[in-house]
């Protein structure tokens, strides 16, 4: 009997090596700030991370009482918070962000700590070939190449920061502007069928962020690509944007896409926070994706 007891206790002792899933909450200040060349200073989001086991609440996560200052182009912009929270911090000055210009951000938190960052805005990008107005999705949905090709021009921002090095990558995003009514706004309405999703082998549960997300992002090493169908989830009208990203934003792209766990090596702000202070230069266009079947 004693032996059995010893065995049971030994097994229990070894089992006790397991750590329970922790629910400890260590808040972290988080900055998501991107300057868009040709646009005013806007949408500077400052958040406090939330507990793992809580439903994410955007409103609650916003930090609204920080002092946020952006300097650059021999100017200083003291940002104000949008009371609705939708825009985050913004500048109400009539100033447009310039290309090839360095901007710095300093955030002073209520506890006196700071978050700082710096970005050099990227060069322009332009279309070489205009996008066709309509793009036909292949009739056969299985294993079909696209016939349309996007080509743009520019010099992507090179990066050489030890961990990440490249002659430059372009950001590409495709945003669905029509998820419900398939082309009902057109002069010649294709049909009266409700819009639906393209088949996507990586489609997931309707509760998931990526299922609901209207915009698909990717990064490409060259300035020419066929239409990649997995970038598109609905038929109908879309906006496509090509971005020249600064080093910080390129890193942030990989921060977003590579894994679900935050990677400190891809953070580009200093001080009492994590996140990004980056910049982009974009060109945009729209196209209408025609259904493969009636």
């Amino acid at each position: 009997m004693k032996k059995i007891l010893i065995i049971i206790l030994s097994v229990l002792a070894l089992n006790s090596c397991e750590d329970p899933v922790p629910t400890d909450y260590i808040p972290q200040n988080y900055l998501e700030a991107a300057l868009l060349v040709g646009q005013p200073i806007d949408n500077i989001i400052l958040m406090r991370s939330q507990p793992i086991n809580a439903v994410f609440d955007y409103e609650k996560s916003l930090i609204r009482d920080a002092e946020v200052i952006i300097t650059g182009d021999d100017k200083e912009f003291k940002l104000r918070i949008d009371p609705t929270g939708n825009r985050g911090y913004y500048s109400n000055e009539d100033y447009i962000i310039k290309a090839n210009t360095r901007y710095n951000i300093v955030i002073r938190m209520q506890d006196g700590s700071t978050i700082t960052g710096t970005t050099l805005t990227p060069d322009i990008v332009s279309w070489v070939r205009d996008l066709p107005n309509t793009i036909q999705y292949p009739i056969d949905t299985v294993r079909k190449e696209s016939k349309d090709t996007l080509i743009w021009d520019g010099i992507p921002t090179p990066i050489d920061e030890g961990a990440i090095k490249s002659g430059g990558y372009w950001g590409v995003s495709v945003k669905a502007l029509d998820t419900l009514e398939y082309g009902i706004y057109l002069e010649s309405v294709p049909n009266r069928e409700k819009n639906r999703r393209l088949y996507n082998s990586f489609s997931s549960s309707s509760n998931e962020w990526r299922y609901k997300e209207l915009t698909q992002w990717g990064a490409l090493p060259n300035s020419k690509t066929p239409i990649i169908w997995s970038y598109i989830k609905w038929y109908g009208l879309h906006e496509i944007a090509i971005y020249n990203m600064d080093n910080n934003y390129l890193k942030w792209f990989f921060q977003s896409k590579v894994q679900s766990e935050f990677d400190q090596n891809l953070s580009t702000v200093e001080g009492n926070g994590i996140g990004v202070f980056g910049s982009l230069n974009a060109i945009r266009d729209t196209f209408f994706l025609v259904k493969n079947q009636p």
């Binding site: 991370s49 086991n53 997300e213």
Partner: protein, 752 residues
């Protein structure tokens, strides 16, 4: 200064060669009487004396400096009937005394794992384990006997998960193990992306694992050495074996040719056959997966003193998937070839020359709506290794040799969308790198029986790594002291270097890439300190206790984001580590019940400036407690049953302390992101599993046949493969990806 002292000691030993000129010697090969296959590790002793020896990898032995007179020479080998020969040795006689041993019925009472104390007569071995192939074949998991999975049942040999065949030995990662098949290096010794090892057990006749403190003959790796020897083949008659199992089918044929033998064996999966009976949804197809491997060997004797063996090995894994607009293919293969010439200059001087080549190819290509990407990496080596074994006298044996490895590294990656051609060099989205490296190594070692209680072994290995332009000297020392006839204390110390680096993910070995050390990285270095106690406290029981400490410098982890590769540092982080622990190993060799019990206590720490904020962490494969048990029971002539059990501390994982939401420009919902705590700072529940196996021998169509029944994971313990934080929805959930449930399997094999 210490190297000079070592060299002085070695030279002093060598000058004592001819002190016993009047005495005689015996030497020869020991073979299986039924098929003339040489036996590795057979023991030869002069009855009534303390003199003895053991056959080497070629089945050769020598006992020198024997006083003239009459002796009974006793040959023994596990699973074989002991054989005796009476001889009358004259002064200065060099007697060639080959022996044939008859295998008894293959009995589980005679097969066992053993730590070769007898081997110490030639060299002091520490932390070395041989598992006879008969034993490995009995330890089946999921119906498949597997060399690596059998080795994982030894203490100190850890796994990343129960479905991984990777060997994590005393804190070292799998790339730190030198795996040699007939002298050829094997770079990716696994199938099914790590689920089972690449070696067909029907084609292998000997497996030897040195868990640390390996001697100067071996180099180029930081942690351990695993040597596998392919079967020569039956020299008497043509025979074959066919088996059909749950995962694969195997066929082996062997027979005599000329003055030697041949062997040809292969196995393949048949998942595609099963798949053809299933109704597939073309939009959600089942991936095509297959692997196969082929082993071949031909051996010829040229007189009594020369033997040539040529062997080859080819393995291939292939995964194809196509759905929607996405198609991809992944292929992994190993190609090995070796030629080995053994020559006996005289009974005391034995030479082996090994020419080998090995190639590992890992290729991936994908097509997404016409946007094509590919990645391929190839490592090819051409190696010459020459060793001389010199059995000077009863007290001194020496070994010398040199080794030259010529490596070719080819890395091709193209993510530009058009993969028809890839320019040389590295630019955004594409990399085409080809470079070569040559490693030169020379080694010498001497084993000196100082007195009846104390023996010492000194070794020195010098390496020059051409590409890295670095030279590394590796002194190695081993000592053995018999405090009682049956109790030996051993100690070992040595320095080890590793030039090759492996870029791999620990969870999936899909895109393993081998790299040479260039000027951006440093040669890996480790120092081993090992102490061992070996004893036989009860009749039939061997007990080993090993205590070890290993320091590791310039070890690597892969970077998660790699955009452009110009050098090794673009791919790998460089760090350091240490591992220490103790192992207890108790084995029972004889009787109806055989098996072993092993317990390992280990501590592993790593530190990288760029990971975990520069703080020390325990890597994922760190498992504090490691308990293993294997038992085989022979019920009667026909029935054998066995069980193996493992219990390990759960593997490490990284906890998360908070979450936020990342949104790229234009995104409407973004995605969840978690903030990690200490890297691998938490542990999963302990991992444990019981597997049962049974076999029944009978005659089928007049041939020996065997029916095998295995039950994998008997009590359906679904261990956790990995734990992850699902950030895809508003509420983050902690989810566990669990391993396989209970799986009973039947297999059948027939020998003809």
């Amino acid at each position: 200064m210490k190297y000079r002292f070592l060299a002085f000691i070695i030279i002093q030993i060598l000058f004592t060669f001819d002190a016993f000129a009047e005495n005689a010697s015996i030497s020869g090969y020991v073979k299986d009487s039924s098929n003339k296959e040489t036996l590795i590790g057979a023991t030869i002793r002069l009855d009534g004396t303390s003199r003895g020896s053991q056959t080497n990898k070629d089945g050769y032995f020598v006992i020198s400096n024997i006083k003239p007179g009459k002796y009974d020479v006793v040959y023994s080998y596990i699973g074989y009937t002991e054989t005796r020969k009476s001889i009358n040795l004259k002064a200065n006689q060099d007697l060639r005394l080959d022996a044939l041993l008859s295998s008894g019925t293959m009995t589980s009472e005679e097969i066992s794992v053993y730590a070769d104390r007898d081997d110490d007569k030639v060299q002091i071995s520490i932390s070395k384990v041989n598992i006879p192939m008969q034993q490995i074949k009995e330890i089946r998991i999921g119906g498949e006997s597997d060399i690596f999975r059998s080795l994982q049942l030894l203490p100190g040999v850890l796994t990343s998960s129960q479905i991984s065949s990777g060997l994590y030995i005393r804190g070292g990662s799998p790339d730190q193990n030198l795996v040699l098949l007939d002298g050829s290096m094997v770079y990716n010794p696994s199938h099914l992306f790590g689920f089972i090892s690449a070696f067909n057990t029907d084609a292998i006749k000997d497996v030897e694992l040195i868990k640390g403190g390996f001697n100067a003959e071996y180099g180029g790796r930081l942690s351990s050495v695993l040597t596998l020897t392919q079967k020569d083949g039956n020299r008497e008659e043509v025979e074959g074996m066919f088996s059909i199992g749950a995962i694969s089918s195997k066929l082996a044929l062997e027979g005599p040719i000329g003055n030697g033998s041949w062997f040809l064996g292969g196995r393949r999966t048949y998942f595609e056959v099963i798949k053809s009976f299933l109704n597939e949804d073309p939009l959600n197809p089942i991936p095509d997966f297959a692997f196969y491997d082929v082993n071949a060997k031909i051996t010829q004797d040229f007189g009594d003193n020369d033997k040539v063996a040529i062997s080859g090995f080819y393995s291939r894994d292939n995964l194809d998937y196509g759905a929607g607009n996405i198609n991809f293919n992944l292929g992994i293969s190993n190609r090995l070839g070796s030629a080995r010439w053994t020559h006996i200059f005289n009974p005391q001087l034995f030479s082996t020359v090994n020419l080998s080549t090995s190639q590992y190819i890992n290729g991936f290509d994908a097509d997404n709506s016409g946007y094509k990407v590919l990645q391929e990496n190839i490592i090819t080596d051409y190696t010459i290794k020459h060793t001389l074994d010199w059995f000077h006298n009863e007290d001194i044996t020496t070994k010398y040799g040199y080794e030259v490895n010529f490596y070719e590294f080819d890395y091709l990656a193209n993510f530009t969308g058009s993969t028809e051609s890839t320019d040389e060099g590295s630019k955004p989205g594409s990399t085409n790198l080809n470079f070569n490296d040559i490693n030169y190594a020379a080694f010498a070692q001497a084993k000196w029986q100082v007195n009846s209680l104390l023996s010492a072994q000194f070794g020195l290995r010098a390496n020059h790594f051409e590409f890295a332009k670095q030279t590394a000297v590796e002194p190695r020392i081993a000592l053995k002291y018999n405090i009682q006839p049956d109790v030996a204390i051993k100690a070992s110390w040595g320095i080890y270097h590793q030039n090759l680096k492996l870029a791999t993910l620990q969870d999936f070995s899909f895109f393993d890439t081998w790299l040479g050390t260039d000027s951006s990285l440093n040669i890996g270095r480790s120092v081993h300190y090992i102490m061992a106690l070996e004893t036989e406290p009860w009749e039939g029981f061997d007990v080993n206790v090993d205590v070890y400490y290993k320091s590791l410098e310039n070890i690597n982890e892969i970077r998660r984001v790699v955009l452009q590769i110009d050098n090794g540092a673009d791919v790998l982080y460089e760090g350091k580590g240490e591992a220490y622990g103790a192992e207890l190993f108790i084995q029972k060799k004889m009787g109806d019940f055989t098996g072993w019990f092993g317990y390992g206590l280990g501590f592993i720490y790593s530190q990288y400036d760029s990971l975990n904020g520069g703080e020390v962490f325990s890597p994922k494969f760190d498992r504090r407690h490691d308990f293993k048990g294997v038992i085989q029971y022979r019920i009667d002539e026909n029935w054998d049953v066995g069980a193996n059990f493992t219990f390990q501390t759960g593997q490490s994982y990284t906890g998360q302390t908070s979450r936020f939401q990342v949104k790229l420009e234009g995104e409407t919902t973004g995605k969840g992101k978690t903030v990690p705590s200490q890297r691998y700072g938490l542990r999963l529940p302990p991992s444990h599993q019981l597997n049962l196996n049974g076999s029944y021998k009978f005659k089928a169509f007049g041939y020996d046949a065997k029916l095998l029944l295995d039950v994998y994971n008997v009590y359906n313990r679904r261990d956790i493969w990995f734990r992850f934080y699902n950030v895809n929805e508003g509420t983050i959930t902690v989810e566990d990806f669990r391993l396989l449930p209970i799986i009973p399997t039947f297999s059948f094999e027939i020998k003809f």
